[in-house]
C-alpha cells in the first residue's frame, strides 16, 4: 500500500496547521498568482502516517537491525547519544544568520571539530562546509585548479585517477572542467608506478588517490608517488573514504597529500540516513590554505568564535552551500570524537583492521579466493567469485542476494570494477567476533549451496518483502511518480 491509498478526499485532521480559512486569507492576492490545480498530497490521519512509515521502516536492513558489511561505506554503529545531543533545541532552533553573541556554544563545538580533524589528518586548515564526500572532492579539485590558476600555470588540463577509484573521482574532475586519465593498478594491488611516470607531464594538474585503496590495501609506494607527482608540478588529492583503516596510525598530510576530504558519515559515525545527509570536510596543506571554501570558523584573541568569509579568505573557491553545510551532522561527528578521545582514534583503525583481516583469513580457509591474497587487508578486502561463477554459475550478485536471506546485508558488489565477480567486505570495528563468525557460517553455507544446488542461490532472495526485482523494466517503463487511476 502506498500512503496515497489511505487517502480520503475531504479528510481534514487539522491539528497540525493553523485553524484558518486559506481561501479567505489568500483572496487579496492577484488571481493569476494562485494555484488552481488540485494538489495531490495524501489526506490521511496522523495515526495512518505513523503506522504507514513505521511499517515501511521494517522493510529496511540497517545497522541497528543487521550486520551491514557494505565495503567502502563504513557502516559502524551510530551511537544514539550523538543524535540526542545534536537535537537539543538550542542547536535545532538556531538560525544560520543568528549573530555571534547567540552562536558561541555552537561555534565553539565546530571550531574544536576543525582542530581535531586537523590533528588526525595532518593538514594545516579545515573547512567543514562540503555536504558529502563528492562535494568535498569538488572543493578539493577546485582548490587545485585555483592554485594552478593563481600561478598562471594554465596548461594543466588533466587529473589522474587510478582505475580502482570511486566513480565520484572522475565525475568530480569532469565537473571541474578537467579531462580524466586512468592509471592502471599493478598486479600486487599498488598503483603501477611505471604507468604513472609515463602519464606525468606538464599537463597534469594532480592525482586523486584513496589510501588504503578501494582494493583494501595500503599503497606502499605513496612517498614515491607523492615525490613524482610533485616533481611534475601536480598536487595530490586524498579521498578519505577509507580513513577508518588508518585513523590515529598514519596521516594523509604526512604521506604528502596537499588536499583531502573526510567522510564524517563513515569514519566519524554520523548516520547514513538511507543515503545521507553526509559531511565531507576538506583539509589542506599550506599551499592550498588561501583557497578553502567559506565559511570557516575562526577564533580571535578574545576567544570569540566567528565565521571567516570571503573577507578573511579572499582567494576562497567560494560557497558550496546556501549556509554553512550540514551543521547537524558536524555536531554528531564532534560528539563522537569527544567520546572516543585520543586513545579511541587509533583503536578504531586497529579493530576495524582486526575484524577485516580475521574475516579475510577465515574466508580463505573456507575456500574463497581473495583478489589480493598476499596482502594485508586494511579495514576491508576484496573477494572474487570468478571461480564459482565459472564452475557453478553462481555470480557475485546471487551470492549477495542469498546473504540477505541469511540475515546479513550484502557487501558492496561489482566494485572495484577491475576485479571480476567481486564482493568488497568491510565489517567495521563495532562488530563482535560472534557476529563475524555467524557471517562466516552463512558464507560457508552459501558456498555449499552454490556447489550442490546452484538454482537455490540464483533465485535468492526468498525471505524479503519482494523477490528479485526487474531493473530493466524499471528503466524501460519509467514509473517514477504515482498517478491516481
Amino acid at each position: 500500500m502506498l500512503i496515497f491509498n489511505y487517502s480520503k478526499a475531504g479528510r481534514k485532521t487539522g491539528s497540525q496547521s493553523p485553524n484558518v480559512s486559506a481561501d479567505t486569507l489568500l483572496k487579496s492576492l492577484p488571481a493569476n498568482s494562485l494555484r488552481k490545480s488540485k494538489l495531490l498530497l495524501p489526506e490521511v490521519s496522523e495515526l495512518e502516517v505513523v503506522r504507514h512509515y513505521t511499517s515501511l521502516s521494517k522493510k529496511n536492513f540497517s545497522i541497528d537491525t543487521h550486520f551491514y558489511p557494505l565495503g567502502s561505506c563504513t557502516m559502524k554503529y551510530n551511537p544514539r547519544i550523538c543524535n540526542e545531543l545534536a537535537m537539543l533545541p538550542g542547536f535545532l532552533n538556531h538560525h544560520p544568520y543568528a549573530p555571534l553573541q547567540f552562536s558561541q556554544g555552537l561555534l565553539q563545538s565546530l571550531y574544536e571539530l576543525q582542530e581535531m580533524l586537523k590533528e588526525v589528518s595532518g593538514m594545516q586548515g579545515i573547512s567543514l562546509t562540503p555536504m558529502a564526500g563528492a562535494q568535498g572532492e569538488f572543493a578539493g579539485v577546485a582548490m587545485i585548479q585555483a592554485y594552478h590558476a593563481a600561478r598562471g600555470d594554465t596548461q594543466r588540463k588533466v587529473i589522474l585517477v587510478p582505475d580502482a577509484a570511486h566513480g565520484t573521482n572522475p565525475a568530480t574532475a569532469m565537473m571541474c572542467g578537467y579531462q580524466v586519465k586512468e592509471i592502471p593498478t599493478a598486479e600486487d594491488g599498488d598503483v603501477d608506478i611505471q604507468a604513472l611516470q609515463a602519464a606525468l607531464g606538464p599537463d597534469i594538474a594532480g592525482i586523486m588517490l584513496t589510501n588504503p585503496s578501494t582494493l583494501g590495501v595500503f599503497e606502499r609506494h605513496i612517498h614515491e608517488i607523492a615525490d613524482l607527482v610533485h616533481q611534475a608540478g601536480g598536487l595530490l588529492y586524498y579521498d578519505g573514504a577509507n580513513m577508518n583503516a588508518i585513523l590515529g596510525k598514519v596521516r594523509p598530510g604526512d604521506m604528502g597529500f596537499d588536499v583531502i576530504h573526510m567522510n564524517l558519515h563513515k569514519t566519524f559515525s554520523t548516520p547514513h540516513g538511507g543515503g545521507g545527509p553526509g559531511a565531507g570536510a576538506v583539509g589542506v596543506g599550506e599551499r592550498l590554505l588561501p583557497y578553502l571554501p567559506v565559511p570557516v570558523i575562526g577564533c580571535n584573541t578574545d576567544n570569540q568564535y566567528y565565521w571567516m568569509t570571503e573577507q578573511e579568505i579572499p582567494s576562497s573557491i567560494g560557497r558550496l552551500s546556501g549556509f554553512m553545510g550540514n551543521v547537524g551532522v558536524l555536531i554528531r561527528a564532534y560528539i563522537y570524537m569527544r567520546l572516543l578521545g585520543r586513545a579511541g582514534m587509533p583503536r578504531i583503525a586497529e579493530f576495524a583492521s582486526l575484524n577485516a583481516n580475521y574475516l579475510q583469513a577465515k574466508l580463505k580457509q573456507l575456500g574463497f579466493d581473495m583478489a589480493y591474497p598476499k596482502r594485508r587487508a586494511g579495514h576491508e578486502f576484496v573477494l572474487t567469485l570468478k571461480r564459482q561463477a565459472k564452475t557453478c554459475g553462481v555470480n557475485a550478485m546471487a551470492f549477495a542476494k542469498r546473504l540477505l536471506d541469511k540475515g546479513f546485508h550484502a557487501p558492496t558488489t561489482y566494485f572495484p570494477l577491475l576485479v571480476p565477480e567481486c564482493l568488497l567486505i568491510e565489517p567495521t570495528e563495532t562488530e563482535s567476533k560472534g557476529e563475524l563468525d555467524r557471517f562466516l557460517e552463512a558464507m560457508a553455507e552459501i558456498l555449499h549451496e552454490a556447489e550442490t544446488n546452484a538454482e537455490l542461490v540464483l533465485g535468492a532472495p526468498y525471505s524479503m518483502p519482494v523477490q528479485r526485482l526487474d531493473d530493466v523494466r524499471a528503466a524501460k517503463e519509467l514509473d517514477l511518480v504515482w498517478k491516481a487511476d
Binding site: Y53, H95, K249, G275, R319, I335, G344, R468, D470, W482
Partner: protein
C-alpha cells in the same frame, strides 16, 4: 573500549587466526617512517554523562531568541511525529538502497516523496534529493545547459532577486566549466524582476533563465510573463521556489503557456529544523523529456519475478558509479534522512494543511507590514505582494537598530546592506505561521523604541 565489543580472549584468538601476535602487526605494510605515535591535539575521551552536560551548556548558552530572520531558512512548526519516525534506526542507520530487496522501506518512501514533490511543483518528475537549495540551483543550471538542444550557448540569465548566496554558490560550482552568468535587474519600486529590462536581452542567446518565487525580498515575480519570454528566446525556464508555498501559489509546472522546465529549491520548509543552516535538502523536478539529464538518485516502481510491486534505484546510467567521468553529476550521498522527514511532514499536513500554513504566513506578513508601516522612520520598500518576508528601510543605521533588538533577545531580520547597498539602511524581516499577534506587537514596539 567505547563501542568496541572484543574481549581479550577473542582478540588473541582472532590474531592467531590471522597468524600474527599483536594488533600492531596489522599495519606492517605501512612504511615505518609514516607511522605516528601520538595525536596530542585530540582531548582525552569523556564519558557520555560528562559530554551530555557540556553540550547542554553550549546549547543553552546560545539562548532561544525570538527569530524574525528568514533569508532562505524558515522557522515552521514541525509535528513531533516527523522526527520521531524519521529517527527510527531502520531509516537512520541504513544507507543508499543499493540492495533493493532489503531496502523497500526507504525506496517506497522516496517514490512517495517524488510523487508528493512532483505534485507540489505540478511537474512530471522529481529526483530523490540533492544537497541543498543553493547547490540544487547550480545543478539545475548545469542540467539546463546539457538539456537545451535549441540553444547551445553557455550563458545563463539569473534574476538579481535570486538569493545572493545562491548566486554565489552557482558561480562557485559552474565557473570552471566556462559558464557565464548574467544578472537581470529588478524594479526598485515593485521589488521583482524588471520586465522592461528583458528587451535588451532579446537578441542575445541564453541557455536558461533563473528566477526565484517568492524572490529573496519575499516579493512575487511575474512568473507567466518571464516564462513565456524565456521560451520565446529558446531558453529553458528554471524556477527556484519555496516548496511549501506551492500549495497556495501557482506551481512552476503551470507557469506561462508551457510551464517551467526545471523546478528546484530548498526542501527545508517541509519539516527540517533551522539547525544552523543544515542538513536541509535540495529538491529538483523536471519535465519528462529531459529526465535523462537529471542529476542524483531516482527511484522507480517495478515488479519482482512473481509480478509483485517493488521499488528500485533506476536510470542509473546517468550516475557516477556507472558512468564515471560521463555522469550528469558527481553526487553520490544525498540528504536521504531529511527527505524521509519531509515525506512524513507532507503526509501529515496534507494539501489543506500546507495551504493553511501558507495562508497564515501571508496573513502574518501583511500584519507586520500593517503594524510597522506607519511607524516614523520606517518605509516598506516594495509594493509587490509577497510571502514570508518584506524589506524595511530605516532612518537609522541598521546595525544600531539590530543591537537594540538583540539586547531584548530578538533577532530582527537580515541586514541587506552588503548584498543590496542601493537599498540603503534596509532590513529583510521574516514572519511565518509561528509568530503570534503578540510577537508582531513586540516587534513593532521594539522597532519604535530603536528608532526613537
Amino acid at each position: 573500549m567505547p563501542y568496541i565489543p572484543h574481549t581479550e580472549e577473542e582478540i588473541s584468538s582472532m590474531l592467531s587466526a590471522i597468524g600474527i601476535k599483536q594488533l600492531d602487526q596489522l599495519f606492517d605494510e605501512i612504511p615505518k617512517k609514516l607511522r605516528i605515535k601520538t595525536i596530542d591535539a585530540i582531548p582525552e575521551a569523556v564519558s557520555e554523562m560528562a559530554l551530555r552536560r557540556t553540550m547542554q551548556v553550549r546549547a543553552n548558552q546560545d539562548g532561544s531568541p525570538l527569530c524574525f530572520i528568514g533569508a532562505g531558512a524558515y522557522e515552521h512548526h514541525i509535528p513531533s511525529a516527523v522526527w520521531q519516525i524519521a529517527s527510527r534506526g531502520e531509516f537512520y542507520s541504513a544507507y543508499t538502497p543499493y540492495q533493493a530487496e532489503a531496502s523497500q522501506g526507504t525506496l517506497q518512501l522516496i517514490y512517495e516523496y517524488q510523487t508528493m514533490m512532483a505534485g507540489l511543483m505540478a511537474m512530471d518528475i522529481s529526483n530523490a534529493s540533492l544537497y541543498d537549495g543553493a547547490s540544487a540551483l547550480a545543478e539545475a543550471v548545469l542540467m539546463a545547459i546539457r538539456a537545451n538542444r535549441k540553444c547551445k550557448t553557455r550563458r545563463v540569465l539569473v534574476a538579481g532577486t535570486v538569493n545572493p548566496v545562491y548566486r554565489a554558490c552557482i558561480n562557485a560550482i559552474v565557473k570552471n566549466q566556462q559558464i557565464e552568468l548574467i544578472e537581470l535587474p529588478y524594479c526598485t519600486e515593485a521589488g521583482n524582476s524588471l520586465a522592461g529590462s528583458l528587451k535588451q536581452h532579446e537578441s542575445q542567446e541564453f541557455a536558461a533563465l533563473v528566477i526565484q518565487q517568492p524572490n529573496f525580498f519575499g516579493c512575487l515575480e511575474n512568473v507567466d510573463e518571464l516564462t513565456d519570454w524565456a521560451h520565446q528566446q529558446n531558453a529553458l525556464m528554471i524556477a527556484a521556489v519555496n516548496p511549501l508555498l506551492m500549495a497556495a501559489l501557482k506551481p512552476p509546472g503551470e507557469w506561462g503557456q508551457n510551464g517551467a522546465d526545471i523546478a528546484c529549491g530548498d526542501g527545508q520548509p517541509l519539516g527540517a529544523p533551522l539547525s544552523c543552516g543544515g542538513p536541509y535538502y535540495g529538491f529538483m523536478c523536471c519535465k519528462n523529456e529531459i529526465v535523462r539529464q537529471m542529476p542524483g538518485r531516482i527511484v522507480g516502481r517495478t515488479q519482482d519475478i512473481n509480478g509483485h510491486e517493488g521499488f528500485v534505484l533506476t536510470l542509473q546510467a546517468r550516475e557516477q558509479h556507472i558512468r564515471r567521468s560521463k555522469a550528469t553529476s558527481n553526487i553520490c550521498t544525498n540528504q536521504g534522512l531529511v527527505v524521509t522527514a519531509s515525506a512524513i511532514y507532507m503526509a501529515i499536513m496534507g494539501p489543506e494543511g500546507l495551504r493553511r500554513i501558507a495562508a497564515q504566513c501571508y496573513a502574518n506578513r501583511n500584519a507586520l507590514i500593517q503594524a510597522v508601516g506607519s511607524l516614523k522612520g520606517v518605509e516598506v520598500v516594495f509594493t509587490s505582494p509577497g510571502f514570508h518576508e518584506c524589506v524595511l528601510r530605516l532612518n537609522k543605521p541598521v546595525e544600531d537598530v539590530m543591537a537594540v533588538f538583540y539586547a531584548q533577545g530578538i533577532l530582527p531580520g537580515y541586514n541587506l546592506k552588503k548584498d543590496y547597498p542601493e537599498l540603503g539602511e534596509a532590513l529583510l524581516v521574516c514572519v511565518t505561521e509561528t509568530k503570534t499577534d503578540d510577537d508582531i506587537e513586540l516587534y513593532k514596539n521594539t522597532l519604535q523604541q530603536a528608532l526613537a
